[in-house]
Symmetry: C2
Subunit: 290 residues, 2 copies
């Protein structure tokens, strides 16, 4: 069984930079790859933001954080980025053609040993496996946003994934300090979103059809289940723009909710927790409850 030491993250967006930073924090050698050198400054800016989070939340020292930065290198050349990689984690935008092209290129330049993992939230690994040149060494490794706080990662193969590779990636997740959620069968939405979306949809339907108001729905959920956050607080945590994009593709009631979100929140810059306001207000330094 392979042992993972060198990790290359493809894509320096919100989640890609979180994955790269966390892997370096947990002592892996990390290369982060993005398409253009223009993005370098953006990635660095995100790393500095993350550094502050880790110092605050994980009580890590400034000097330990310097070591983390020393374990990360940057590359804008795919071949160079993956030449020593034991594991490549792909976290580029959710565009099927872009992903297919990337995997086709990757298949040409990555060493034989390299495992490929996609962080896609919306595409099943079986829909990409054919482009990887190594379907047996390909699977999904799905991180949640703010991964350093929630500490779960979903591991999901496709029917052609080698079970030893699956175990290797589960073990890697544990070395990342994450609780691996082992998914036994391909499923859209993995486990977490398969549970979360029906709850959230039911909440927005109750609201948009006039059955109850937002505060009442959240209060009911929290009091009856002991959960720290109600559905609309979870919406705020996910971000209303993401929710808008999902709701727009739903049924009639879902589309009504999308329209309501756009008119009353998104157009007013209320994007949820990170923007300081969504369904609720989040004063600076006042931590969210989810």
């Amino acid at each position: 069984m392979n042992k993972i030491s060198n990790v290359t993250v493809l894509g320096g967006g919100i989640l890609g930079s979180q994955i790269a930073f966390h892997a370096a924090y947990r002592n892996f050698n990390v290369v982060i790859y993005d398409l253009s050198a223009d993005l370098y400054n953006k990635i660095i800016a995100q790393f500095y933001l993350l550094k502050d989070f880790y110092i605050q939340e994980a009580h890590v020292s400034e000097s330990d954080m310097e070591e983390v930065f020393n374990r990360i290198s940057y590359s804008f050349d795919l071949k160079e980025a993956v030449e020593d990689a034991d594991l490549v984690i792909e976290a580029i935008p959710e565009n099927k053609e872009m992903k297919q092209e990337l995997y086709q290129n990757l298949a040409q330049v990555a060493p034989q040993k390299t495992i490929f993992a996609t962080n896609s939230s919306t595409m099943l690994p079986s829909s990409l496996a054919g482009y990887t040149g190594r379907p047996d060494k390909f699977l999904a490794l799905h991180f949640a946003n703010l991964l350093f706080r929630y500490n779960i990662v979903e591991v999901m193969g496709h029917p052609g994934t080698d079970q030893n590779i699956f175990r290797t990636v589960v073990d890697f997740s544990k070395e990342l300090g994450m609780e691996p959620i082992e998914i036994k069968k391909e499923k859209n939405g993995y486990v977490l979103n398969s549970l979360l979306i029906p709850l959230l949809s039911a909440a927005s339907e109750l609201f948009i059809t006039g059955v109850a108001d937002i505060e009442t729905i959240d209060k009911t959920w929290k009091m009856a289940t002991g959960s720290p956050a109600g559905p609309f607080q979870i919406y705020d945590a996910i971000g209303l723009n993401t929710i808008y994009n999902i709701a727009q593709n739903g049924d009639v009631k879902s589309k009504l909710f999308a329209h309501f979100l756009k008119e009353n929140y998104i157009n007013k810059g209320k994007m949820g927790y990170l923007s300081g306001e969504g369904f609720y207000k989040y004063p600076p330094n006042n931590d969210i409850n989810v």
Copy 2:
């Protein structure tokens, strides 16, 4: 606006006796009515069980509890049971014909002033209003099991409910020490079950289709949302027999889950939390987490 002092609870089952006991605990004069004097001993036995709960959970003294018993009277005659009632709370079995007949009898014998409230989980108040002889003074007041612990009650009218009556019952709920969940429009499942059922169904579908095991599903939910209980722990709290009855009336996957429940749990006496074992084991005196 009416002020509620005298409450009559119709039906001495699990929830009926909890409602009656709690109302007496909160200083209302309570009559509990059931069909036959044979049930008297059963009701008393439940009250003694509840007494121990209140002493343990609400830190009430034995002598205070005696006062509670003094505020409860028992009746097996409907006319006598409601002759002074400001509010009648109906908590008889979920059988439509039984309820219709009861409301027809009640309409004959109850004073003009009496408000009627149904605790039905499955029937909309509009489906019963026509039998009450006073649709404007009729609404649903839906308590959750273990109501003294969760402290929420859902208040839901039908289109003909007088808004003053609705407010009176909301105020009564507050005097009960409950948080009233005000539902603005009739909805099957009220707010709580409208949220809970989609989450629970998604969880059983993930399990029954082999996507993930029970512990993984619960762990994912708890870690990602901070909730104290995962879906299968909530199933145990509700009781697997109730879940079986609901699942049997669902789609194919739901029926598969019902069959699984019967074979592996119900037939073996594992009925959930109250029986000491369901999906999880609950040793005596080890409190549940929901």
